[in-house]
Amino acid sequence: MTLEEGIFYVVAAVTVLGGLGVVLARSVVYAALFLIVALLGVAGVFLLLAAEFLAIVQVLIYGAAVTILILFVLMLTRARDVPQAVDGPQKPFAFVLGSALLGLLVTAIVTTDWAALGATEQITLVPARELGRSLFRNWSVPFEVASLVLIVALVGAVILARMEEEEE
């Protein structure tokens, strides 16, 4: 086992643990905290994949903004105050389906001949400078569209959330 592999297994273990926590935690707040762990773990995986720019974006947007947003909503909906089962009645089916899906995906991954598809052995580092150039040159139109989607979504979210106050 090389050093890289060791690091990967550690990071992967943290990520999977975080994910398990999200779907198994009895408290919504704990689930949110486990989500942060999982997201940070994914950021670590990104680093291992030599995508450090994305790792930073991941930490900034998901680790901070999204998680805080979720916690705010938890606070506003006071879900914590109502003690009740967090899992629905179809939990067994969900387990079966989830396991089946995992089995299917792993089968697909294992049976695929990746070398034949051109998989390299080495991970080449992508400089952030090149990524930025590509994003703003080749992908400028999708980028603008994504910006528009973002602003529309956020304005819509604000209106949705505020509507009631005007009604009252």
Partner: protein, 102 residues
């Protein structure tokens, strides 16, 4: 070196966990978190493909950036909807909302 399969299997585990969470959880907020897990799994796959299969182009990376962007928008909207749901029906549990039928 780490083979690509390792990353893909990690993505698969995260995705399956997300699916389980979406199906098993009652609270809309928890379902949303599970969806985020699934999106993370997808992002890992994209970046792994980008790194191993087509390093010269950054399509996978670009895609991952867009996934994060759209996910941010989605979270914003979804949370606003959950907020309204809670205000209208005093619950954030999806199985208590069953007017979507005859």
């Amino acid at each position: 070196m780490i083979p690509i399969q390792h990353f893909l299997v990690l993505g698969a585990i995260l995705f399956a966990l997300g699916v389980y969470g979406v199906l098993a959880r009652r609270s809309a907020v928890l379902i949303l978190m599970s969806v985020e897990l699934m999106l993370q799994a997808v992002s890992i796959n994209f970046i792994a493909f980008a790194a191993y299969l087509a390093p010269q182009e950054f399509r996978g990376l670009i895609f991952a950036i867009f996934v994060i962007t759209i996910a941010a928008a989605e979270v914003g909207l979804a949370l606003a909807i959950i907020l309204r749901l809670f205000r209208n029906r005093a619950t954030a549990n999806v199985d208590e909302v069953d007017t979507l039928r005859w």
